[in-house]
Symmetry: C2
Subunit: 365 residues, 2 copies
């Protein structure tokens, strides 16, 4: 094959790098389905444990239950060695890597490994969050569903049911979203016949980048900065006039209203703790969409998942420093499902590169 | 863009995913150059420290010196928590991840970070190798070049000059090789604006897979299994007749003699410790190439880098369990150089995917 026959695409945009049965994403229509089930229906009727099993097995198992797993003692000891100032994403990546070293995780990835990794990660993040604040980690309660169990391990007490429900919904909408950069990283790693812990550690590293993992905490910051709802329109106009970005609006894929934002908004509305903040978010959203349509009449920019994710994460009382790593916890189900899917019909993922460097030269004699 | 306009390539073969000024690889001609300098010349006249600086900066710095760096105490403590049975690749990945957490490594990648990571990794692997054997780690000697310093930290004594020279040559030929799966992983991770430690931890995970990192230890095993040189031809014929693979021959890219194998053979010939073994390897190579040409007349299969890499690694007395992770140490220069190159002209690497799963369906009422 010579160069003219090759596709040149540095970002791989428009290059279909594989097939998936996991997520159907319709950006124009604002639709997202996991294995055929609409995301709104999954959030309204399902739990994260059911959704994770659906992603791994392809089947809806009404009795599925996924709780946080106890941390192997050496992982807790590893987390104790990290400074309290460490990025929670770095701590989670290190914990997953240590888990792989301790369990001897190997190819091929299995549903059992997927379940163990997904159940392990919230316990690891909660332990780090407590250790950095000078508290001892709390053992998981196996009776609690994963998202609620994560909050329990952070605080030592069960959250109120509305908060548990809202965080579970957040975990569901964050579970899977096609070939984003972190998921693709996981598939490249698995494609070499490496193991699921290596793949997930790599994926966490990719999600750490703000071009991928985003910055839901900045939505909260902006809503604080703009002051009262009366002042929102002037603040939004100023931001857009300066060419700055309005956080929580616009998405690479969705031109229509992000179906994940819609699903989260409906659960956020039931959170008493966040009622005042949510009223403001809803009012600001209406203003923002109107002003954005005026600034970019030819390019539809709609509310994205981060906008109401911020409402939920703030509503359940999570520290904004944990927002990105909490997104990573939710995405474990999808990453591991992609590991299984890649392994089932594996081909080594290895693109070509064009050399544009110096012509042959020689070292000084 | 609709589906018919897209390139469908699950392994990305023939898809040019970027440009590089680092390695020029000519598989047909059996040529490899780093920034224009032929690999044979770099091995004959250069050191790994000079080659690493060349890859990072683009310039040949005759006075470049790269020594192993002291381990931050928390990394040593992390390595103490891993079981002695852990895979050295898992241990190295965990150490690099912990290093990132401890140093607070952030975008954008810098030459200083590249230097620190490359200098850190051999100390981490040596510390793990000693700890698993029940010995305390040894502080690095800053006067020793990197590869020699790695051997020193494994054993507490300086290797003989021929062994140091041979391992340095191995590090040079292993430093960089275009868009293989691990390097591509590092670039995908960096492309999200994540950090160099995340990228290298992901790359180590990808290199762990035997479809990428290979298995130089198996070359040694096969040479032992085939018995004396007299018995080699019958053993090789039997292996190929059973449809099994002859380790150390054939490469995805090189149709001609792998220029890295040629460079390593010339340094291996100067290692007294490996003289007898090398005589056998040279004799077996001649037989293997003749038999391979007979079995696959239309498809040239030549000696690859693993064949003489095995001779060098065995010659310097490394445990075969450390071969893959030692390859990873050498590749740190290339991985980090790719991080720098990706960041300089960054575009998010995110391919498309084709949905082939179930049509819309609904949860049971």
């Amino acid at each position: 094959m010579n160069d003219s026959e090759r596709t040149f695409s540095p970002g791989l945009k428009g290059v279909v790098a594989g097939e998936t049965s996991l997520a159907m994403i319709d950006g124009e229509g604002g639709r997202l389905q996991y294995r055929g089930y609409p995301i709104g229906e999954l959030v309204a009727q399902g739990t994260y444990g059911q959704v994770a099993e659906l992603l791994w097995s392809g089947e809806w198992k009404a009795d599925a239950h996924l709780a946080c797993a106890p941390l192997p003692e050496p992982v807790t000891e590893v987390l104790r060695r990290l400074p309290p100032t460490a990025s929670p994403m770095d701590a989670l990546r290190t914990a997953v890597s240590a888990w792989g070293a301790i369990t001897g995780c190997l190819w091929p990835p299995t549903v059992q490994q997927a379940r163990e990794l997904t159940a392990f990660a919230p316990s690891a993040l909660a332990a780090f969050a407590r250790l950095r604040d000078g508290h001892e980690p709390i053992d998981p309660d196996p009776s609690l569903p994963l998202a609620e169990g994560f909050l329990y391990q952070l605080r030592g007490e069960r959250p109120d049911p509305a908060a548990a429900r809202a965080l579970d919904a957040y975990f569901i909408v964050g579970a899977e979203h096609g070939f984003n950069a972190s998921t693709f990283t996981a598939r490249v790693i698995i494609s070499t016949h490496s193991d699921a812990a290596s793949a997930v550690a790599g994926a966490i590293g990719a999600l750490k980048g703000p071009w991928h993992g985003g910055a839901p905490a900045e939505v909260v910051d902006q809503l604080h900065e703009m002051g009262s709802t009366d002042q929102a329109e002037a603040w939004i106009r100023g931001t857009l006039e300066r060419g700055e970005r309005l956080m929580g609006f616009g998405h690479r894929v969705y031109r229509a209203y992000d179906p994940r934002a819609a699903a989260l908004r409906s659960v956020a509305e039931n959170q008493a703790d966040v009622a005042g903040w949510l009223d403001k978010a809803v009012a600001v959203e209406e203003i923002a969409l109107r002003v954005l349509a005026e600034f970019k009449p030819d390019y539809p920019i709609k509310t994205n998942v981060e906008y109401y994710a911020a409402a939920v994460l703030q509503g359940v009382g999570l520290s904004p420093s944990l927002f990105p790593a909490t997104f990573a916890l939710a995405r474990h189900a999808g990453w591991t499902a992609h590991c299984l899917e890649q392994a089932q019909a594996n081909v080594l993922i290895r693109p070509d590169v064009r050399y544009v460097g110096p012509a042959e030269r020689h070292l000084p004699a």
